[in-house]
């Protein structure tokens, strides 16, 4: 166990309230963000986070430090989130890709057809975006991104949240979700492309490009 972690675990086992308060306040925001990608309401996400912390407290005596306490905590959250997702009928098996994870991510109609001299080339280039520098636009952009995230299939949403919203590495995501690197990239690609398309509809005033 890493030294920082063994100190922390010892404090928690000894009932140090300040130590517990600190990790609850430090970790609960990313935990809540991740939980939100498994379930459909903020209230359910709070329940997932609370359930996770209770499981952490229950399991603390059995914690052996093979991963960091933080990773261990997030892994518990993922397991609870996956179970919840199934209960909310939002889930298909995690190990394989689904129908929503294949096919083009940009509307084929944006490209020249097979009979064209430049087959597969853009009919017209994607419009460049207004720069969203001012605050009003920034807020709007974030709201649109949040809305686009929520519309994603569960696994795409979870992967994109971990990678781009929370800034985890691909290795961490594969390890946490127990998915292959190749599947992680597929889910990330589709999710980013869908969010790009949502932003394009707003920032470029171009028709939605996402393939249905």
């Amino acid at each position: 166990m890493a030294r920082d972690d063994s100190d922390l675990v010892a404090s928690l086992r000894a009932g140090d309230e300040a130590a517990f308060s600190k990790i609850v306040s430090d970790w609960s925001r990313p935990m809540l963000t991740l939980a939100r990608s498994f379930v459909s309401t903020q209230a359910s996400a709070e329940e997932v986070v609370q359930e996770t912390w209770l499981a952490v407290l229950k399991g603390l005596d059995r914690f052996e430090g093979r991963s960091s306490l933080r990773t261990w905590t997030f892994r518990i959250l993922v397991n609870i989130g996956k179970t919840r997702g199934v209960r909310e009928h939002r889930s298909i098996p995690w190990s394989s890709l689904g129908d929503e994870d294949s096919g083009p991510t940009v509307d084929p109609d944006r490209f020249r057809g097979p009979e064209d001299q430049y087959a597969g080339g853009w009919k017209s280039f994607p419009a460049t975006w207004r720069s969203a520098e001012d605050d009003v636009l920034e807020v709007e952009v974030r709201d649109r991104l949040r809305a686009a995230l929520e519309l994603l299939p569960e696994r795409q949403q979870v992967v994109l949240t971990l990678r781009d919203v929370l800034g985890c590495s691909s290795e961490e995501v594969c390890d946490l979700l127990e998915i292959s690197a190749a599947n992680q990239r597929v889910l990330l690609h589709r999710a980013r492309a869908a969010c790009r398309s949502a932003l394009a509809a707003y920032l470029a005033d171009e028709p939605s490009e996402e393939a249905s």
Partner: protein, 82 residues
């Protein structure tokens, strides 16, 4: 060199963007990708927008756990720690 770019269509390019950004393309595929983006303003725009999307997702502020939930957890902790 115009048929160099034809080895990779724009339609194929857009599906490789994440593999490229993740460093998952082999040397030859990466060279073809970079060659294409150097010649094609549309794909250059697309690549930048995918990067901008990823960056903007990182600026979504996280929600906090409600004070009620936090104090319920502290109560639970006191119950565990005896």
């Amino acid at each position: 060199m115009t048929d160099e770019i034809a080895h990779l269509s724009c339609q194929d390019f857009v599906e490789l963007v994440t593999d490229y950004l993740e460093g998952a393309l082999d040397d030859e595929a990466r060279a073809r990708f970079e060659h294409h983006v150097g010649l094609c303003p549309g794909c250059d725009t697309y690549l930048r927008q995918m990067e901008e999307t990823a960056a903007r997702l990182g600026s979504i502020p996280p929600e906090s756990l409600s004070p009620e939930a936090q104090s319920a957890l502290l109560d639970a902790f006191r119950g565990f720690a005896r």
